[in-house]
Amino acid sequence: MEYPAEQLKTSRQQLITLFTTGLNVKSFPEENTALIDQYFQDSLQESLVGRALHQQGIPYAFVAMGGYGRRELCLHSDIDIILLFGKKVPLQAKTLMQEILFPLWDLGLDLGYGTRTIKDCLSIAKIDFEVLTSLLDARFIDGEYPLYLDLIEKLYKKVLSKKSHALRLWLIEKDKKRLDTFGDSSYLLEPNLKEGIGGLRDYHHMLWLAKASVGPRETHDQAFRARLSYQEYQDLRQHVSFLLNIRNHLHLLSHRRNDRLTFEYQAEIAQRLGLRDQKKSLAAEQFNSLVHATMAALKSLSRSFTAGLFLTTKKGRNIKQIRQISQGLTVDKGELGFDAARAILKNPSLLIAIFEYSARLGYPLSLEARRLVREFLYLVDDSFRQSKTIVGSFETILTQSSHTFETLSQMIDVGFLDSFIPEFGRIRNRVEFDAYHIFPVGIHSLYTVKYLKELSGADHELLHDLFVEISHPERLLWAGLFHDIGKSKGNHAHSGAAITNTILKRFGYDKDGIQDICFLVRYHLLLAETATRRDLNDEKVIVQCARIIGSVELLKMLYLLTWADSRATGPKAWNDWIANLIRDLVFKILHILERGELATRDASRKVEHIKSEVRKHIVPGTQENDLEASFERMPSRYLLNTSPQEIVRHLGMAIRLKAMMQARETQLEGNAGEDIFIFETRKDKVGNCWEITIVAKDRPGLFANIAGVLALNTINILSADIYTWRDGTAVDVLRTANPLDDLFVKEKWAKVQEELANVLTGSLSLESSIGNKETHRHSAGFKKLLRVPDVVVDNESSDFFTIIEVYSNDHVLLLYRITHALFDLGLDIHSARIATKVDQVVDVFYVRDLEGQKIEDDERVKEIKRTLLKQLKHL
């Protein structure tokens, strides 16, 4: 018995080597099957038991079952056979089996076997459809051929003729179970080649149904040909052979029977198929796209094939109920069809009309109608794609129907969507090679649309409200369909917007619509990226987003698109955690937009203008990057309200400050630089008053100290702008109310500087010096009460700061008193605007506590008011 086994071992090894080196890749399963067949035939030739049986006149046959019967043996596939006898299983059967099968086990093959009579087979097949389907694949290997034929004849006559309907139901049930198990998202990127949706099993089901519907002597090719067009049949063979080939690679790489195409093997198999990494996509991504396209096509074929079978059976029993629903279109038992193929030729718009009805009525296209659409796709030419009516019909499908998803899926299935929007065809089967995206791009886009449409229902309260409020939901839906259309290009949001623009222009879409849709595509990642990668407590971040988005309407649409897109990406892209972050961001942007201070179109334009002016003033080439980084550090209000010349000046002062601080650090002596500040004064040309600019490292109480020193020198502050840059640089610009004595002005400023330095280092106490001053002022008895002082604490207007507004009469000590009180209250002044009208002061402070939080506690708010009012009354 050694010889056939040895031969099998050698030839099998050769076959594997050929396969590994990339030769004979397509025919492996068949050649592998042939080798096993050969082994059985050779062994039987030499078998003593076999000869004995023959001599005793006991007929027997070796019959291949299942995958072996179908000639689909991959490297580690099970080999199922039965040893078939006529009426009785003789005693020698066991010996024969052992003789033939043991060497195969020794070779490490996986065997399943049974010894049965024809009667056994039939009675099991009647109750166990697994056995029945396995018998449908039966193939004669060796022994007595008539015995095999007898089995098959009886199988058809006695079992199949009675059970074919039950078998169909059973297969449908199996399909449902498969959908439950393998329709799960995790299988979409790591498909099961056999049992998965669109896997080999779909082909098997078609095969069994085909066989069950024809006689035993017809080949299954003939069975298929009755239901599939020539092209469809060719496609089917190609898909199956492709999947078998991959499956074989998978077996080879994983060294076992494995049908799940997991990530670890995808890249390697892609290489083996000759796919190479390219700029636009990795080899593994191209491979995944191929696998997915194949499985999707197989699924589609199997669905229409099965549906077709059922239709014919029903037709026989029911009376025809064809109903005309419009010129050229009919409904027949809940399926849409064309009146006649010729009608499409005359009127190509029927091609979209049938989908429009499908979307409106929720009826699918009949198998025949699908075939016709496919055949007539060549009618979808440039003029079809540009026709306003056609585009209008498509938009109706997108927006008006509650069956949008199903209709668009059908359009993809028959290739209509690819023809109508060729750009979509390019990304449809693209698969992202990561664990994040669970769908290929095409289906993902459809799901995005589906989720958006479901928003008009009520499940998600806020999202629902927003959806109902937007005035152009159709723009959002278009954006949902197109948001990933740039996926094959580098920056997909960016290029997607350009592609979308091309498509919509071709459609003759209105200008505003195009603008909005392209915007949504262009920025569909903005919210998700900002929410996870930027500091949402930084006002500037929010203002920048608000400026990009520009309007509440677009914000709402962008939020909804972000939600639907993330949800359609997969469970890892959307969860409660990220939902919270994004909602937080959206509310903050909404508040900025609604307030209209920092993010109006005018504001954005003005800031851009200011920036470009500043760029001109800086010596070219020296510090461009530094400059952009500096812009990033400047608060939104500063950039909006400061002139370019001033910004340039402040930048210069900030650089000098930094240099001085660094010099102090290297000296390693004295204090850490508390007394370092840059101080500049200049005379206002118009008002004959002075402007003081102080740039220093920010610290709580800094402004109180400045105000105090100025008060000490009886310099009244008329107005002031106080800003803190993000790197902790304080920029304070103050304008004096009263002209100074021109003679001693230099000395005066020198004194102010010196005193400020002393106050900052702590060697001069402001409180006591001012105390003296105050008594002095009081004795002058100069006081008039024009209005009742008032303090307003506003927590509504900003998400980032508590805004304190102070109304009071002017007084030289006023600013010092207020800012000092704020310091005592533990508040940090981020920015402030001080203004005086006649004798009336309106001061606005943007403050936070020392931890950077707004002051929202009612008690604290009351305390602030009380303290400040007390200070005001004392003046």
Binding site: L462, R533, D576, R583, R699, L850, G852
Partner: protein, 144 residues
Amino acid sequence: MKKEDLILVNITKPDIVSNDKAYRKNRKGVKIMKKIEAIIKPFKLEEVKDGLSRMGVKGMTVTEVKGFGRQRGHKEVYRGAEYQVDFVPKVKIEVVMDSKLVPQAIALIQEKARTGKIGDGKIFVIPVEEVVRIRTGETGKEAI
């Protein structure tokens, strides 16, 4: 300058837990390991992760978490409906390492995750008794 937001660093000192098994192992000169658990702001994750990788940390566990400390959630009202955020989204990083590396890792996380504002997070250091790599059965530092 703002008053520094305190980041609590809880380091369990070996002399306090002298009954601790890990500590006794320690004394015999057997390897000791710590687990660092850091709760940080989500947008700081990349920086911290990169920093730790550069330090030579080979693996970490990252979890999206929600909670509150002194930084509380807040409420939004839109069209009359209230949207309450009780818990603030954060990221939790867990890393087990040789205890010698711990001070360096703490400094690094503190540097990378700090914004100076409330809600910057906390770092916890916890003694680890044993680590076993499931696949090979290796234990101790080898298994980290």
